[in-house]
Symmetry: C2
Subunit: 83 residues, 2 copies
């Protein structure tokens, strides 16, 4: 199953409660698309958010985010990873 | 110690060997700045790379990347994370 990193803008000033709620909305919608969201990292000062997921396609990830109310077109398929 | 996510462009077509070598250059340079690099994720189709680190400041992370030969000005301080 491919891995994706998506990048969101617009999370300026978001709180942990708000982020947790947004992440729960993704997780509530993900099963219908065969997507599984992992960790999300946010810089509230710039509003930039990064979110890892696995799923069948970028389009599936996008549909989950749309359903959850925070769509983004910046979705990258991660084929290389080093730790 | 703050956490940072940095975003690079220009890794189009990078191989795992090249990415590993680039990551090793970061790790070789990080101690002098008190930085520790974690996972790096790359989409070779678009050349976009994402890299987690901890360190004293964005400037310290930037200096390590400059020393390693792949500077970026897109460095975000991550203050919220959900899994």
């Amino acid at each position: 199953m491919p891995t994706f990193m998506d990048v969101h803008s617009g999370f300026v000033g978001v709180t942990l409660d708000q982020l947790t709620e947004a992440h729960h909305r993704d997780r509530a919608a993900q099963a219908a698309e065969g997507v599984e969201f992992g960790t999300a990292w946010v810089d509230p000062a710039t509003g930039r958010a990064f979110c890892l997921s696995t799923g069948p396609s970028k389009e599936a990830v996008l549909r989950v985010h749309e359903h959850a109310g925070h769509p983004t077109t910046e979705i990258y398929e991660i084929t290389l990873e080093v730790a």
